[in-house]
Symmetry: C2
Subunit: 268 residues, 2 copies
């Protein structure tokens, strides 16, 4: 099974499935999205699409509007999961700044009840927002089957990554996926992931094949193939894994085995 472990919902869904078929991907873990950059043909159109993302990152939306947006996005996601259960798993968003009780309630109501396999993507816009993940980690201690997916490329800084590492150590039952392998700080993230059992490395947005090759060489059981589509291309990201994997066995783990184990679906 080839599993692209991180794609955002693209529209129309038929376009997304066509991409999977062309790339030889069996299933995808689908993440919510607000912008739809896959529709943009020019830079101007793209900027209009992702303006909403910048607003979210800058924290300029109200808490209430952010929560409503997440509920809508999860609903949109679950409709697609119901329609195409053989092609998609899903991860769902969880708001920051809720109390522990409300966070647990949200996870029950919107993640577990919908059969989602994990939570995220979190894209912290500041070190403070990374710190705010602590409540989410506390809540996840009760749901060890749900990994958390955190964006660790820009705008997340090295100090933000270090806060995340502290949380990862403090909550060893919580599986943490380091999205985009730490970006510029990929060496720090690889070194860290070798010291704890609950840190995983997402290989999307790799700007250096050398970095991805090192991650695979050092952590063949903990690296996860993904494309981050529509920001990356599923086929090209898959070709990267095929190119850098030192053996067919390791290639198959990175392309699907590791993530299936992580979300408890290894026996399908």
């Amino acid at each position: 099974m080839v599993i692209d472990s991180h794609q955002h919902l693209m529209l129309p869904t038929e376009f997304q499935i066509e991409k999977l078929d062309k790339a030889g991907i069996d299933k995808v873990i689908l993440f919510c999205t607000t912008p739809h950059p896959e529709r943009a043909k020019t830079l101007l159109e793209l900027k209009r699409e992702i303006e909403s993302l910048y607003k979210i990152l800058a924290g300029s939306n109200t808490k209430a509007s952010d929560m409503q947006r997440m509920k809508n996005n999860i609903q949109e996601l679950t409709q697609i999961l119901h329609k195409y259960p053989d092609r998609f798993y899903g991860f769902g968003s969880v708001p920051l700044e809720l109390s522990l009780e409300d966070t647990i309630d949200w996870i029950d109501r919107y993640i577990v009840s919908n059969g989602l396999k994990g939570i995220g993507e979190f894209t912290p816009g500041s070190d403070k927002q990374v710190q705010q993940l602590e409540t989410v980690f506390q809540a996840l201690e009760q749901y060890p089957q749900l990994p958390i997916w955190v964006h660790t490329f820009n705008p997340v800084s090295l100090s933000g990554i270090k806060i995340l590492m502290e949380l990862t150590k403090k909550f060893p039952k919580v599986s943490v996926i380091y999205g985009h392998m730490g970006g510029y700080y990929w060496m720090e993230v690889i070194d860290f992931a070798k010291t704890v059992s609950n840190a995983y490395i997402d290989l999307s947005a790799a700007f250096s094949t050398l970095a991805a090759r090192m991650a695979v060489a050092e952590l063949p059981e903990k690296c996860l193939y993904s494309s981050d589509a529509p920001y990356g291309e599923p086929l090209l990201s898959k070709q990267l894994i095929e190119y850098i994997s030192p053996s067919d066995e390791i290639r198959d783990k990175i392309l699907g085995g590791n993530i299936l184990k992580l979300i408890g679906e290894e026996n399908i």
Copy 2:
């Protein structure tokens, strides 16, 4: 002609040529290097190799030792150009902090006399070092045939990129290649390159295929294919260009036509 417009010298050269042959690349623009990460099999070995690079970036070497290193590196490069003239062009290093007269003397002695086609890679470790490029730009006004290649990904900041844009505007006869398309600031670099005739975009180290696709859509005459090997893989970078190009004509320009024109070799 397929031209990889930015690779570092890898050892042994036969290994580098084998990579070109496998990727279907006719010629490469070779850049000097001090570290040789292509030799590293583990992260520890890689760290040892690139320690020297970090020292250079941190400016902890003396000016004299930096100049001696550059001379040695250029000599190493020109030996390979002489041995394999049908596979390689070369760009050569120029020190910062020389007087205008000494900079011109260096360019004469080490770049022009050696038949090199441009200068760089410059990897400014601070905004101050970007500003110091002004003397080099002044010198290059006398050599409009020599493009300058500047790394614009981390550790170069947005303010560093803006200083480079000012220099690009101030010296319109100097062709400037924005290495790695501005990294996280790729939108700013694309927008800028649309407003001046002498800014070019290098597509290596692209962490988002969407970004590369936009650059190609907006600036088909100014985008340049490269792999930044050994940090990237020539074959995978070429597959990216083939995937995102909207037509065969544009693909051929990006894969070779544009850079051949820029270095005055379009009639070969």
